[in-house]
Chain length 271, copies 2
């Protein structure tokens, strides 16, 4: 592997990747004409929509990497991994929250991450272009770019799960033990929200949600979240409180206190 | 009561009411400093957030009605009813989806309706100012106004609940029999979304959601939805398929076929 590189050009490049993704996606949003069903046409319970937009956006981002970061690897949902000669690897999820996308809701996001040779996500972008919000994180900082400007973001000062606003994507996809843990959190917290996918983590970073816990995630779901949440002063661990893997169970919180309270329940359902 | 009046000036006026509401709300969104708990500080399970924004926005709209529609009545969540001498009554919910608002999510809405002397909602506005979307409905039409223009909206052509995207606000607030009915719909439909409050009905009107079913609604929750969904070609009934009351159980669908399929389950839990 190589020595670590300056991340500032990569942060600028990551924002350009997000622009390229939206250019490919925007003609399809609320104009669906290519909803496929990865899980088989007859399996409505496990419907997993993928659109032309997803494929076109990932292809656009991969083209940019091939042209401007040819040594970096790419991992994404839609196409095979490409090799890395630099040790750095980009992770793309062009449309995280495909169900929200299909339903025409402005809470799906484009996820972009750069992972360093040690496997640590060092740049994360959570982009919601319909609302015009781009959340960016890097070691030591995070910011929100909108059409009217850019400002640093910071997690809330919530220290008590009983006062917390919490979120998970789907209360019905948990395993039974995960469901039990989640029900404990839900019964303890003040407000619970569903269906946000990565947008929930963006709002942890921006201070209006205090905890998100999910399971069954893929590497391209997770990699972008960690730098954004950590850069804003939050915590990201697995359900045992350890360094999260790029996938599986993850919990992000505004504070160590909220994390500790949540882990009392989450640990019992940890993989 | 009086004879019916031309609604075009009222539609323009309703849009001005939405502007006034957002002017009062925007300084508070994601800047929460006045979250109250109507249900009592110790009752976290039934937390019902209300903000200064809610009160300020309703007051601003009431002031406009008093100045420009002094004979019309007003019903809203935050203040007492005012009398009507015209037979017409405005219904205001400045922040429908207070939990989404507190969580900093762009899916809360401002609801504005005008109900005629026969009790029929004839104008509805579902306004989401963060995204910049204003859904308006009236007898025979509906449109979506955004920062870049205005265009007519139309429900989807979905005729099959098995292919439908459906939504309800909270799967955990139903009564047991309502929960049973909802579980039937959820198991049948293709995609289910939660936490949308009135924004879900707006997306029924705009053709990306095919059914929303809810219960326990108040008059100011319901009155604005009906003209928007009906104006876009959709259907709005109670859970028996009858003309909805201004409150309680409501179901809105893109088509009679989806409604008929849903009523098979909903009727069993109808009030």
């Amino acid at each position: 592997m190589t020595q670590s590189r300056s991340l500032e050009p990569d942060l600028v490049f990551a924002a350009r990747l997000a622009d390229a993704a939206w250019a490919a996606i925007r003609v399809h949003f609320r104009q669906l004409d290519g909803v496929d069903d990865k899980s088989g046409a007859g399996d409505t319970a496990a419907f997993d929509p993928v659109t032309e937009a997803d494929r076109a956006a990932e292809a656009a981002m991969r083209d940019l990497v091939a042209a401007e970061r040819p040594g970096d690897g790419v991992t994404g949902e839609e196409f095979d991994d490409t090799p890395s000669s630099t040790g750095y690897r980009w992770y793309f999820d062009p449309i995280d929250g495909t169900r929200a996308f299909v339903a025409g809701l402005p809470v799906w996001t484009t996820l972009i991450a750069l992972v360093d040779p040690d496997g640590v996500p060092v740049i994360g972008v959570i982009d919601q272009p319909v609302v015009g919000e781009r959340y960016l994180g890097w070691p030591g900082g995070a910011r929100l770019d909108t059409h009217t400007g850019s400002h640093p973001i910071r997690v809330s000062d919530c220290e008590d799960l009983r006062r917390a606003t919490i979120a998970t994507t789907d209360p019905f996809i948990f395993t039974p033990s995960e469901q039990g843990a989640w029900n404990h959190l839900r019964a303890t917290a003040r407000i619970t929200r569903y269906g946000l996918d990565a947008y929930g983590y963006a709002r942890v970073a921006a201070g209006t949600i205090d905890l998100v816990a999910e399971s069954g995630l893929k590497s391209w779901d997770v990699a972008a979240l960690i730098p954004v949440v950590r850069g804003a002063g939050g915590l990201a661990t697995d359900w045992r409180g350890n360094t999260p893997k790029l996938g599986g169970q993850i919990v992000c919180t505004s504070s160590q206190a909220v994390l500790d309270q949540a882990l009392l329940a989450l640990k019992r359902a940890a993989d």
